[in-house]
């Protein structure tokens, strides 16, 4: 047994000298970790789900545009799909691409007219990226080889039309060309957001290119990464690579900054709640440390008097506190993991008005728990930090200890 390993043994045995107090301290740490982990997992899981829903629903995690498109979203910034761009779509971690031509048009049926957002896209890739087929509530999914359209059911309702009717689109095409066309409605789509429901028109890409006189051009190329993490990893490299040849790359955070801000605010709120929880627990732990330090003042004096260096004594006490924290964290994890796992597979599901509120933002009305390692690691770091800070008290106490006075106590 070396000096440090003997201190470890000593620390481990010391924490069991007062079993009841140790049990209470460990229980309080485990309690904090249990709730903080569940809270953190649900918070992260719910937001990840929301982001995934919103991003997958429309934007995709990464989009390539002509430089300046993010500032001025006009069809005049359409671009051809060059070899370099297609190469970007075939790099490791990118499962495919979804080219789109987006612009506005007046949608009309009989005496009704409404402004609409027209998306020309490849039906197969679009479905792969945004799961568009699942939003179909009536009719069938559009075919890229036919000049046909799918529209939001809100728009269909406004225009008083249905599947089989013919939609007229009138607008301005590429560089001011006239854009006009007639398209049979093959399917109605339902989006969570009522606003989108009333505005969306989907055409096959080639149909939209013909409508807008933008043959072979797209306004965006959405890249389909294998996961959000992959997208976040690839984003900086793509940005620098493609900016050199006149393109801009927008990550999901650039495309939906409002959502990112709301998420950050919500995360701060959750952190504050967790901090309050930990602060309450920290006071409990501090109580234990205070008692332990006061009770063992005499013993500390004896150990220093027989020749134990103060730093070794402080290290021993610090290890005792860290042991308590680690056991508490471990128990907290063991208790919380099954709950988190259950909530991951069987998320909290909302119904009624709450569900409608979720759907309004285009997300599923569920709050799944995240199994992300970061949630668990964060708890370890927080508990470690809190206990390490609290452990300063006995360390300071030991450093200031006057042996004779301590042994008189």
């Amino acid at each position: 047994m070396g000096a440090i390993s003997s201190l470890l043994v000593l620390s481990w045995r010391n924490i069991w000298r007062n079993k009841r107090r140790t049990a209470i301290t460990i229980a309080s740490i485990a309690f904090a970790v249990f709730f903080a982990t569940i809270l953190g997992s649900i918070q992260k899981g719910a937001w990840d789900n929301t982001v995934d829903n919103v991003v997958k629903f429309f934007h995709g995690y990464l989009q390539v545009h002509k430089e300046g498109y993010s500032e001025d979203r006009t069809i005049n910034k359409a671009f051809p799909l060059t070899e370099e761009l297609l190469q970007a779509g075939s790099m490791d971690g990118i499962d495919g691409t979804a080219p789109r031509l987006e612009s506005f048009a007046l949608a009309s049926y009989k005496q009704y007219t409404k402004g609409a957002l027209v998306i020309g896209t490849d039906p197969t890739n679009e479905d792969k990226m945004t799961d568009l087929k699942n939003r179909l509530v009536e009719g069938q999914y559009f075919d890229k080889s036919r000049d046909e359209a799918m529209i939001g059911e809100g728009l269909a309702k406004y225009l008083n039309m249905g599947v089989g009717d013919t939609l007229v689109l009138i607008g301005q095409g590429y560089h001011g060309a006239n854009a006009a066309g007639k398209y049979p409605i093959v399917g109605l789509l339902k989006f969570g957001s009522p606003e989108l429901n009333k505005r969306m028109v989907y055409l096959p890409l080639s149909t939209a290119q013909y409508l807008y006189s933008a043959d072979g051009l797209v306004t965006s190329l959405a890249l389909i990464p294998s996961s959000r993490e992959v997208a976040e990893r690839l984003e900086p490299g793509l940005k620098s690579k493609l900016s050199e040849i006149g393109y801009e790359v927008e990550g999901w955070q650039d495309m939906i900054p409002e959502l990112v801000q709301v998420r950050e605010l919500d995360t701060i709120g959750a952190i504050v709640i967790t901090m309050i929880l930990y602060a309450i627990i920290a006071f409990g732990i501090f109580g234990t440390i205070l008692m332990m330090t006061a009770e063992r003042r005499y013993e500390f004096g004896v150990l220093v008097s027989i020749g134990m260096r103060r730093w070794k004594l402080a290290l021993m006490v610090w290890m005792e506190i860290i042991f308590l924290a680690l056991i508490g964290v471990l128990i907290g994890f063991l208790l919380s993991y099954p709950v988190v796992l259950y909530l991951h597979h069987y998320p909290i599901t909302f119904t009624g008005e709450a569900a409608a509120a979720f759907e309004k933002f285009g997300t599923e009305p569920i709050m799944p728990a995240s199994l992300s390692l970061s949630v668990f690691v964060r708890q370890v770091l927080v508990v470690f930090l809190v206990t390490a800070v609290l452990a300063c008290y006995p360390i300071i106490n030991i450093n200031r200890l006057k042996v004779v006075e301590a042994m008189r106590s």
Partner: protein, 230 residues
Amino acid sequence: MSVVIETKALEKIYSESKFPVHALRGVDLQVHKGEFTAIVGPSGSGKTTLLNIIGGLDRPTKGRISVGGVDIAHLSDNELIEFRQKNIGFVFQSYNLIPVLTAKENVEFIMLLQNRSKEERIRRTESLLNRVGLGDRMDNRPGEMSGGQQQRVAVARALASSPQFILADEPTANLDSKTAGSLLDMMLEMNREEGTTFVFSTHDSRVIRRARRVITLVDGLIDSDEIREQ
């Protein structure tokens, strides 16, 4: 015989309270190697203060204290801890063993602090515990031993660091007379056979009777210093 402890005009004044207390008023003392010395005196005579200063636990207000030729009053806190660990063995009135360690581990602990090799630690621990008559209680924790046995472990621990002398603060105060007698026999034997130097503070007449030198303190001064023929 070489001088192990030497004090010159040693004074200690406690000035924490409104009225300063002169615990020691100029103590001149020499303890030689191999002595078995008892420091006696009524409560408040300065015994414990003198022992604390000799043991490097407290510092004098004036005067000089040297242990093995080292002026310990001028050592830093860390140097003093190191010095105590290597040069002074402590035996306390209430044993003060580490409750979570076995007898063997308690004895070994001080050698661990000295970074001695594992082989040496094991050999010396077993030899010392056998020497104090506890060869069969090596794996017992303090709570599983009687007061006398614990004090024997404390003596073994004090000896484990190979100190220049053992400082014992009322070592028999918590022991019954039979146990105290047996502990004293053991310490006297060590003193006689191995030349271990012992310095006690005590009220116990049994210790005083058997000490080879008895220093009596009164009001912070040496009142008498009696060396007995054995």
